[in-house]
Symmetry: C2
Subunit: 234 residues, 2 copies
DNA sequence: TGGCCTTGTGGTCACGTCAACCTGAAGGGG
DNA sequence: CCCCTTCAGGTTGACGTGACCACAAGGCCA
């Protein structure tokens, strides 16, 4: 009555929405970007799609997401978390088989250079300017992932994952502003972050800056009794 | 590079954690219950497990959860939502095949009599007294589902799904108390619920009660711009 | 060199939310 | 008919938050 014999003509895939921060080429403002891969096969040949692939026998789900990430961007996720399982019967209308996709989302560090392994078929795009329509229902998935990132950033200290080990509060604030897409009051932001105890003062200051040099902080050790199924990597 | 040929020896299943409210047999207090089914096959033969089954070709994921619900409890879900996809390679150590389970959780109405279809192999249990260890990693899944229900009830008006069309605020409060497992101040609860506008006054009062008769409310029409992938049923 | 400009840091104030608590209303039961 | 219980509504103080203000601390430029 619970889980039994295999089913034909069904594919189980793992895809990942990978977020990074870069300055927007027009405005120069820090914005959210994500990598897409161009499909070289039917269905949806030549359309852009989320990086991913079929789940291998020996891989855990998160491991599969990590593998696909490295294959497309050469990057390690600083935060990796399952988003949703998409499996409607009609989600790939022209495909020969039904595809059930378990989708993850990931954050990578701003300072790690995101060199695409296959420069021709992999490209980064600002999240508000994805070259749609994407393959399958990936437009929907991207929207959903952005919503989830925005929601989560407001109640969980995941934004640190975009930054290097040490950072100024203004840098962290600009991360929040890029994710939430609105300006935040520097003073109030400072108070909130410090009161929640997710960062700690290193005692040092940033050097070589114009104007007053800001203090440097690092993210505080997590209390580690997190949700059961969230995965992170160092 | 995205989703391609099938994989052998892998099973895609859909399971559901079904929540209902009943008085606890010992204390008489309203508590959370869920139905489990006894496995009649290996692996984990004779252990209790979540209701579910293999995903059929023609079924959407939520549809599969709904079908399994009706088969085991004869009930319609008043709220149905995807929980998580569990797919670790070692999660069913003695099973001949790897099982990836997409798990849903559901709420059913307190007043609809939960008649098990197969009384011998299906039984309801208080969530804190499940006859463990369960099959597969279902103990973990149950804990995770309870956490998610508790979290969601604090920021979303889903508790109404446990109640009939019209109800008193004290009944709604007792639902919250059962889910959160702590007492709530009646006065403050009243203010919070009314201020968030998720219930509306019917103008009538409950009759035949001892003491002062309470007003009857119904759940207000939802603003319907909810999360993209949450499913509910009428 | 000294004023100016920009950004970082710290504080105040008004407002809204919430937990704890108090008071009266409205019925049934002894 | 009084008492008990539950419903209904209000008060108070602690706390978090947004809007706003003032000073600190460096580089830049006349």
């Amino acid at each position: 009555m619970t889980e039994d014999p295999p089913v034909q003509h069904m594919v189980l895939a793992v895809s990942t929405v990978i977020f990074s921060l870069r300055p927007h080429p027009d405005t120069g403002e820090l914005t959210l970007w994500l990598p897409l891969v161009r499909r070289i096969r039917e269905p949806f040949k030549n359309r852009w799609a989320l990086p991913g692939g079929p789940l291998q026998d020996s891989q855990d789900l998160g491991e599969a997401a990590r593998t696909a990430m490295r294959r497309t961007t050469g990057l390690q996720p600083r935060h990796l978390e399952q988003l949703y399982a998409f499996g409607d019967v009609d989600r790939s209308p022209d495909a020969p088989e039904r595809v059930v996709s378990i989708v993850y989302w990931a954050l990578v560090r701003q300072d790690e250079d995101a060199h695409a392994v296959d420069a021709e078929n992999v490209a980064w795009h600002p999240v508000d300017e994805v070259p749609g329509p994407l393959a399958f229902d990936h437009d929907l998935i991207v929207r959903y992932a952005v919503d989830r990132l925005r929601a989560k950033v407001t109640y969980s200290p995941i934004a640190h994952a975009f930054l290097p080990a040490e950072f100024a509060l203004a840098e962290l604030r600009r991360v929040y502003e890029a994710v939430l897409n609105r300006a935040l009051d520097p003073s109030n932001f400072r108070r909130q972050i410090l009161s929640q105890g997710t960062v700690e003062d290193t005692g040092r200051r940033m050097t070589g800056t114009a104007h007053r040099p800001p203090r440097l902080y690092r993210s505080a050790p997590q209390s580690s009794r997190y949700s059961l199924t969230i995965e992170e990597s160092p």
